[in-house]
């Protein structure tokens, strides 16, 4: 069974390490915050200027001056800090953020990523995504393995305009977990009940399968 969104977020949460500062993109990555293991110190960075972002406010306590990068009302944890956009990207560009999790439309087996523009359609803009992918040493892409038409999003080469080149290190899709290696997407875990054959059939880019690939615990 392919993972649902919550399970994908849960799986990504297992990549977190104590003491990390983490930037979670809009969409499924945001859900990762709900699965930070008890007792683990992880601080969330929001690129519009928060470190130590807390959960959504209680009803009635929304503050228009306190939003996250997705423009959602949020709260601050004790010890949180606010800063301006230049300092925020100083943190990101300067590699002070240990992990970036973001969604993608396409990833190539050399680590290229495309997630900001579909030519001919409305272009919303890259926001902070280009800064994040160009800067972070540790980027996990979280996305569905195939698009709505059933076509692979793990490609030999991105067809869409790139967001960054050779930067993705790991992918968590609904079908499995992949390291991006010089030889291509290396399957390291399968979603429960998903076969290597299914993954192979849905992966257009080079797929590396070595030995028995374990099923992930969910």
């Amino acid at each position: 069974m392919a993972l649902n969104k919550e399970q994908m977020a849960q799986r990504i949460a297992r990549e977190l390490r104590d003491g990390w500062y983490v930037n979670l993109g809009i969409g499924i990555p945001t859900l990762v915050a709900n699965y930070i293991p008890e007792g683990m110190n992880v601080e969330l960075q929001s690129e519009n200027g928060i470190l130590g972002m807390g959960p959504f406010p209680f009803e009635g306590e929304e503050d228009a001056d306190l939003i996250n990068a997705g423009k959602q009302t949020v709260t601050l944890k004790p010890g949180a800090v606010i800063f301006d956009s230049a300092n925020s990207f100083a943190m990101i560009r300067g590699k002070h953020v240990q992990l970036t999790v973001l969604g993608a439309m396409e990833v190539a087996d050399n680590g290229d990523i495309a997630n900001w523009k579909i030519p001919g359609k409305m272009v919303k803009g890259m926001g902070g995504a280009m800064d994040l992918v160009a800067s972070a040493d540790n980027i996990i892409v979280c996305m569905m393995h195939t698009n709505k038409a059933g076509e692979s999003k793990l490609l030999k080469k991105c067809s869409l305009p790139l967001t960054g080149v050779g930067c993705v290190k790991k992918i968590v899709s609904d079908l499995g977990v992949f390291d991006v290696t010089p030889d291509g997407f290396k399957l390291i875990e399968r979603a429960p009940g998903v076969t290597v054959e299914e993954i192979r059939s849905k992966t257009e880019g080079r797929l590396v399968v070595e030995g028995e690939v374990p099923e992930m615990a969910v």
Binding site: E62, I67, G127, M130
Partner: protein, 232 residues
């Protein structure tokens, strides 16, 4: 050094057609509501606006899109606005999209007298097309230029009559950077105070960057995504 002016209309004196403006804010958070309203009243046209976003249809910079006063937007994300989309697809509106961190740093650089700097953001993408690229320590970077603006429109929480500013929460965002880079920086504040009322150690923007300041009014502070959790 009293920089107080009566209101937004006075503060924007000298803004003319075809000028370049910086407009603070992230989404609708920390936008100069009073100055934007005054721009609509003023009716100046052909504006180039440097602002992270373009507002929504009926608020923020969206108001200036409705009146077709904006010729060009320089932003990182503009996806919340149907009128924007219409004008862009019809070719009425020019749009230059640049990475958010690059936008922030270009404003700071302009204000700080740094004509150009290198950033990895956008290398290998269409954002870097036509730009100089260069390798440092084995990694590729794009050269980006500092931004300047004829006017920077800034929203602060508190400010004193000398232009020293304090921002509140994430309404800070691009405001302090744009304050640095305006030839004329116009600030509207929720609370105008006397010199000495703000702690010298914790002022975000020193008054040297501010030319005009006024007490704003009627802040709507619209929330784009009201997300909450239930008490349990």
């Amino acid at each position: 050094m009293n920089k107080v002016v009566a209101n937004a209309d006075v503060a924007l004196e000298g803004i003319r057609d075809n000028m370049t403006l910086m407009v603070g804010g992230f989404g609708l958070c920390g936008i100069p509501e009073n100055s934007i309203a005054a721009l609509v009243r003023k009716g100046v046209k052909g504006l180039t606006c440097i602002s992270n976003n373009a507002g929504v249809d009926d608020f923020g910079l969206g108001l200036l899109l409705q009146t077709k006063q904006i010729k060009k937007m320089i932003s990182s994300y503009v996806g919340e606005n149907a009128e924007f989309e219409r004008q862009m697809l019809s070719g009425e509106l020019e749009v230059e999209l640049i990475p958010q961190g690059t936008l922030a740093e270009r404003c700071r650089a302009g204000g700080a007298g740094i004509p150009a700097f290198y950033t990895p953001a956008g290398y290998g993408t269409e954002v870097a097309e036509g730009k100089e690229t260069r390798e440092f320590n084995g990694k590729m970077y794009v050269m980006e230029h500092g931004f300047h603006a004829d006017f920077a429109l800034v929203k602060a929480w508190k400010g004193d009559t000398q232009g020293n500013l304090l921002f509140r929460h994430t309404a800070r965002n691009f405001n302090p950077l744009m304050a640095m880079a305006g030839k004329i920086t116009v600030v509207e504040v929720e609370e105008l105070v006397e010199p000495g009322e703000l702690d010298p150690n914790t002022i975000h923007t020193p008054g040297i960057f501010v030319q005009r300041i006024f007490q704003g009014s009627n802040y709507e502070k619209r929330i784009e995504q009201r997300t909450t959790r239930k008490r349990n």
